[in-house]
Amino acid sequence: MTLGLFWGWIMLENLFFAGLVAWFAGATLPLISISSDSKTFRRISLGIYAIASLLLADVSLFAAYKNITIAITIYKILPQIQFSFMLDRLSALFVLMISVVSLCASIYSVGYVEHGHHKVRKNLLVSLMGFFILSMILVVSSANTFAFIFFWETMSLSSFFLVMYEYEKKETRKAGIFYFAMTQLSTVFLITAFVVLYAINGSFDIRHTAFADPSLLTAVFLLLFVGFSIKAGVIPFHKWLPYAHPASPSNISALMSGLMIKVAIYGMMRFLLFALAPELWWGILVLSAGIISAILGVIYAMKENDLKRLLAYSSIENIGVVLVGLGLYLIFSQSGLPSLAILGLAGALFHAFNHAIFKSLLFLTSGSVVYSTGTRNIEEMGGLVHRMPFTAISFFIGALSISALPPLSGFVGEFLIFQSFLDSHALADPMLRLLMVTCLSSFALTSALAAACFVKAFGAVFLAVPRTENAQKAHEVPKSMIAGPIILAALCVVLGIFSRQIFKSLGFSIDSPDLFFIGVFLIASYALTFAVLRAASSGKVRISETWGCGIISQNGRMEYTASGFAQPLVRMLKAIYRTEERSERKFFDSQSSIFKEGKAEMRLMQFFEEYIYMPIARAVNTASKAVAHLQTGSLDDYIAYTFVAVVVLLLVVGWII
């Protein structure tokens, strides 16, 4: 028995390593054949990705299931600087998530990557995608902060290039630069935190750290929180996300939105759970950040008409949901309610996992839609359910899941979080309970808005009549682009239905409803209803035009638009969608009584850009202009600088020594 376990352990280690090597090999292959336009290399490479994903999924599933830890060290630069990796349960969960999604994304990409025109770029897309995923896997399995930050950076770098894939477009460039700046900013916070941790621990290991100075602990927490928040797209650091995700190719958006922001969540969890000793206010901070992200994210999503940007905002929302769970965990565990804490954490983890699945599903399918219609504007789509039936059904399942509808997977995570909210009456502190209620109501708004948002999205994209020529001409995508999403859709269903069983088999006694039972009940009652109707009704069916108030033939211009759909909510929430209205009026006379002409405009204010990002950018720009102005090009000035510097230096030396 022991021996068997030992061998199993050895084997797992090797398998894990083999998986990594396979990823690397797969990613290098397109680089070797960079200038060839043959599909074969790309296909082989994507095939390797798929196999490697399966392998890693297998390993991580096993590790998570058996709760064993796999540790390998690949290379030691110096004794204290090592590339060593470790799969414990948390890491294994995230590796599993990454492998599952990347498996489907790889399958999807077989069809998707071929639609470009540049052969080099197609190869680069495949290769960078591989490096991107490999980096993510290595980040979440890093055993020390050095490896973590190393692969964190390669992850950022490869994803940056992937965002810049269509670099000719101005908006892509803007997105890319914005993304890069933000991602570097997040690295600043992380490196600072890691360096401080290193200074205390004397090594890069991620281990429980005892802080002599409590303010340092606070500082490290805040640094990590901000650093990871930027990457995760937590409001107010979210602004890069709605730019970068739409700009990148759809398979990459799926990976970025489904996985990369989860990597940040992983980081947060890793350090909060394993390295730092949390305090109560951390939980409150995380919870508040989560609530704000969730609610603002979905409100912005509601207004959005760009399909991929809508999904990106929705990712912000879901990250908020995950943070809410994490915040609840922190609060409850600091309040001595471990069972509720576990509920919150399980909710966060499960939702993170599911979000990875359904968000990449949605991104992949919307990628198919964009592929077919050539636009991201949902106002220009419509009626695609008839033209792209498989894509439609996949998207539909994703939409159901993301709207947290039972018995699909998205429901379970939110359920657990709701449950721990509702059980918060166990908290001793009334102020905390009050906080919980406040957060709960906002949280409820979130999930309802998400449903509204995805009704809008699905309705506008797939239902009714095509609104434009492009949508009219759309056709179903290649098989691989159907297969990938279908697997994810199936997972959405399976993970939801069997959620209780999954928790149980992992050894967590979490009181989640038996969705399997609910599912069976639904099917049974469907059968029953169907049977009753067959027996009791006439069964006659007629196909006819939609009634259009007397118009002979219904066309796309008559149906409700996406903007129209969102209009009531936009009006109700106009405090958040800050609009700026400007009007100019000219008059014939001086008393302003005879109106001549006028101009009125309305503009959606982008709060965070206008009040946070732009002022900072402007300040940096002003400073840099001022500094760059010093470089006048005149030798006289340069010597004068030297002169002043020397004089000042001499005075300083005379003064301090």
Binding site: Y75, F151, G176, A645
Partner: protein, 487 residues
Amino acid sequence: MILAAYAVASAMALAFISIFKWNSITRVFSVLHGAAYLGISISALALGKIPTYYFGGRYLFIDRFGIYEIMIASAVFLFAAVYAMPHSKELVQSGELSEKNFKFAYLAFNALLAFVVAAFASNSLALFWIFAELSTASAALLIAVINSRKNIDAALKYVFVNSTAMVFSFIGIILIFLASEHSLGHGTLNWDELAAGSGLFEPTLLAVAFVFLFIGFAAKSGIAPFHTALPHAYSKAPSATGALLSAVVANIGIYGIIRAYSILGGNSARLSISPILIAFGVGSVSLAALSMLQQTSTKKLIAFSSVEHMGLVLIGIGVGTQQALFWVLFYIMAHSLTKALLFFSSGVLHRQYKTNKFEKMPDALKFQPLASAGLIIGSCAIIGMPPFPIFLPKLMLLIQINGVSTWLLAAVLLLLVIASVSFVLLLSKLFSNVSTGEAGQQLKRFEVPFGMKFSIVALIAIIIILGVFLPDALKNFISAIVRELRW
């Protein structure tokens, strides 16, 4: 022995270049010159006993630090020479370099290496100063040799800014001599003797002396506010020269600062000097980072990036721990190689478009995929991204900086972000410039010759390998340098 070999190599190279009138032989000899230097250095490391002293140790010696710098210099020179083989031909063909000046340029090119190596091999501070000045002179000639008024202008700026600052270094030398005379009884200017006796020196005098020395060396390495000539010089110099300027000549200054600072080793003067170095380092980093945002020309951006990196290195030196020095040394090498790659790549683009303005380079990716790749990889490397070699020393230096102050660390990191954004702006502006219609068709593709390709590809390969692997030999070697410097 080693030194003799160097001298012979240089003498032969210079002699052959001046004797033979065929340009192609000139080119080949300069490549051989670099190769010989590299070969001699490696075999010296493998066989010879280091440190070695010459002339009774008074004037010249070769220690590990010296040979480390020599190796960096000769490697970059070798690549630059290979790169220059076709590049110089192009320059002559396009009339930028007149036929008459060709030989002269090559002489200066090779002399530069000889001077730089001589500077690294000088045991005497005064000798070091002289060779540093001579390297300035030959570098200036290399900049001015191109037939353009702008080049003369840039060269003059380079000469004036550097030399005026170096004058103060000489005052520092005199003060050091005074200090050693006062404390040791006999005046000396030898690095090794100074380092050995530094504990006895009068701290205030030593500190003042160091500050004077620092002014000149800072100018040499491009520390703000003495950096002002660099953007002009780097952008006007032909790319091979640019690579030498930023990857080799700038190292002389840093070398000098490290040496001088190691003299402060056992002395309390170090405490008062360290903040000054850090202040200058932070100043350079911030000035460079902010200036970089506004740059519109590739080579100017690279020049400011040099200022930034030298600032970071200076901070590392100012921190003063052994670890910091270890990583500073590694950093210098990584920086030199990366900078060379950037210069070579932007040189190819300059050939293609006859400009350094990245707004005027349409379809760069299409016309010059290799150079573009070099520029992209080089940019990623220079901003300290993994898996490139600057990442590791940067991270480790930051850890050392944290030992001084966490705020300093945060400030430096934020500045580095600004710098890296500038590079991304460069890349995005450069490669997004896609011509539509006929404008792009008119441009004729510049066929990149083998030599230029070779240098770029080789440097890319070296950079990627060094980014992930730190060979034990290198590790031990750098550690030995740190010990040798008695840091």
